[in-house]
Symmetry: C2
Subunit: 335 residues, 2 copies
DNA sequence: CTGTTAGCGCTTTCAC
DNA sequence: GTGAAAGCGCTAACAG
């Protein structure tokens, strides 16, 4: 337990001022007019005594915790660590703590964590939510708790209770499908998990095909993971002949699918090309290395945390914004 | 920020008792003797009013933060997310927060975070440290801040300021090398990064070889990552003919090394067998899937967090323990 | 068995 | 410009 810590009182005694003055000097608040000489002296003493504000006293007084919640489905899903790191990077620079909370993608847990935030346990939250709509964030907005959602499409124009950073999944899948078309593929199937990002990703795929007058074929499977990729490809092949290219809804599915292809003795990309989405670390480790799309999660998440802190400091004000984030196709050897 | 929250005072008023009684009823402390009927009534009211203790007030008063620090090199290193999840799992069950801090493996940052903990910002810490020795934890021990280090070997018998959960790296590498020997390999090289776990892992490899009367050959490279694995194998091949098997110091190095082997047109495991260590998620995704060793990070880390909380609750007392953790060889197709 | 009281370290009126 | 004083919600003596 933290003993031994210098308090404002100690600084005040040594600097020959009152404790309140120390507080004011150290927190250059609004209207106060403390001569800069005094401020300097107090700061010097604070430094000498290695004064560190007690964040719990501060939190109790101000209802500000200096802690942000980073709510994600699962830290062991390889897409998320980079995202978490982005949040941590910003937080550390601003002397905030970041707490990571795993929802497992379940609605109950998503709501549970929202509840914790409402109780004032965190000053703001950056999150990826699969099951919540705008209304779930209304109370947070009323309590002036800023929220940034990381999403896969632009929000409707309705008044927003939160900021939204999104990568345009539909456009990304249109682009990567177009890449295959440009390479001469005329028989391109897609595999995807169900729910969440399925709709937009499939839609992007279909749009590109429609433009090129190619008939789509989509095989869905329950989960967006490696096993889902395996199962989807097996089902697909039981229904129709092998396509020349497969667009997978994410890297994990692409990798699962690649394993089936290789087990069948077919070569990638010559006989079947495969593309992914997310650019997880494993994407460049598999053979052949996976052509995929990077979403720059770390940078986006760092930006999200900055937005939160900006709102907490009143540097950002007004209604929730919807901000587009970049993506980039990473060409490797699988397509 | 958290308004609207019921306090003990509110509960007290509604239950017709004093605020202090509410506190006592809700925290079944030592010697107090409150009739269970009263306790039940207070709990009922607390529930009705949805009372949630204010953790900052509590922290200020008790110097207990209900927050644990989980200090690791880098959350984007695929070995660590599972570890973090183990800590989070235990913490959530005990209503603790877990804050993850990345040291990048640098001594400065390791010491910096220790400093934060000393300031009372966290009640305890679970950590992986590359550059700190026992003495760095002495002050924490004096402040009664429990520490669990996750390590790669048993500690000496000297008085410990912390608990230590270790996987026996040396024994693990002896075992996996033995696996190769049992398969008939007689020319087995090892590649490793420098520092940290290098010594023990190489030593285990050498012990197995010595028992079988095989001459060791170790190629070191700076980093324990994919690139390190590539470079190490290239250097090795520039010095001597290709071995029939390679023991890599971890999965990332094994995967880098596999890429070079495949680029040379050699087959794995027929011409060169490869083994890794860590069982990171990518290990089963590469081709061929990597034979490696699982360290059960999630479970060990969960156990570490339980130990910390046990010490905080005085359920665990006494000098720091050194506790061996299991590992298991995962046989896949690379060896 | 329960209530009164003090005070953790801090921010914030409000006087001087 | 600076300080005194109140109080955030809680725990822990202590008194009754």
């Amino acid at each position: 337990m933290g003993f031994n810590n210098t308090t404002q009182k100690d600084v005040a005694t040594k600097a020959g001022v009152s404790q309140a003055t120390v507080s004011n000097a150290l927190n250059p608040s609004s209207e106060l007019n403390i001569p800069s000489r005094t401020i300097e002296r107090i700061k010097k003493v604070a430094n000498e005594l290695n004064y560190k504000p007690n964040r719990f006293a501060k939190a109790l007084r101000t209802n500000r915790t200096q802690t942000l919640a980073c709510i994600i489905p699962d830290i062991t899903n390889p897409f998320y660590p980079a995202l978490v790191k982005g949040v941590q990077r910003t937080c550390e620079a601003a002397d905030y703590d970041a707490v990571t909370l795993n929802t497992d993608g379940s609605k109950d847990r998503e709501m549970h964590y929202i509840e914790l935030v409402k109780q004032g346990r965190y000053d703001g939250l950056i999150g990826v939510f699969f099951n919540l709509d705008s209304s779930h964030f209304e109370e947070l907005a009323e309590q002036n708790i800023p929220v940034v959602r990381l999403e896969s499409n632009a929000r409707a124009q309705a008044p927003q209770f939160f900021d939204s950073l999104y990568v345009d999944d539909e456009s990304a899948f249109k682009d990567i499908t177009q890449l295959l078309i440009d390479k001469g593929h005329t028989d391109i199937c897609m595999i995807s998990g169900k729910g969440g990002p399925q709709h937009l990703r499939v839609s992007g795929y279909k749009k590109a095909l429609a433009d090129a007058d190619i008939k789509p074929f989509v095989q869905l499977e329950e989960e967006f993971n490696e096993n889902g990729g395996k199962m989807a490809l097996q089902k697909l092949l039981s229904k129709r002949h092998a396509p020349s290219a497969i667009v997978a809804a994410n890297d994990l599915m692409a990798i699962g699918c690649m394993r089936v292809i290789k087990k069948l003795g077919l070569s990638i990309p010559d006989q079947i090309a495969v593309t992914g989405f997310d650019n997880i670390p494993a994407a460049e480790l598999v053979t052949p290395a996976l052509t995929t799309i990077d979403r720059f999660q770390e940078d986006s998440a760092a930006k999200a945390a900055k937005l939160i802190i900006g709102r907490l400091n009143k540097q950002v004000i007004g209604q929730g914004q919807t901000i587009k984030q970049p993506y980039r196709i990473i060409r490797r050897n699988s397509a």
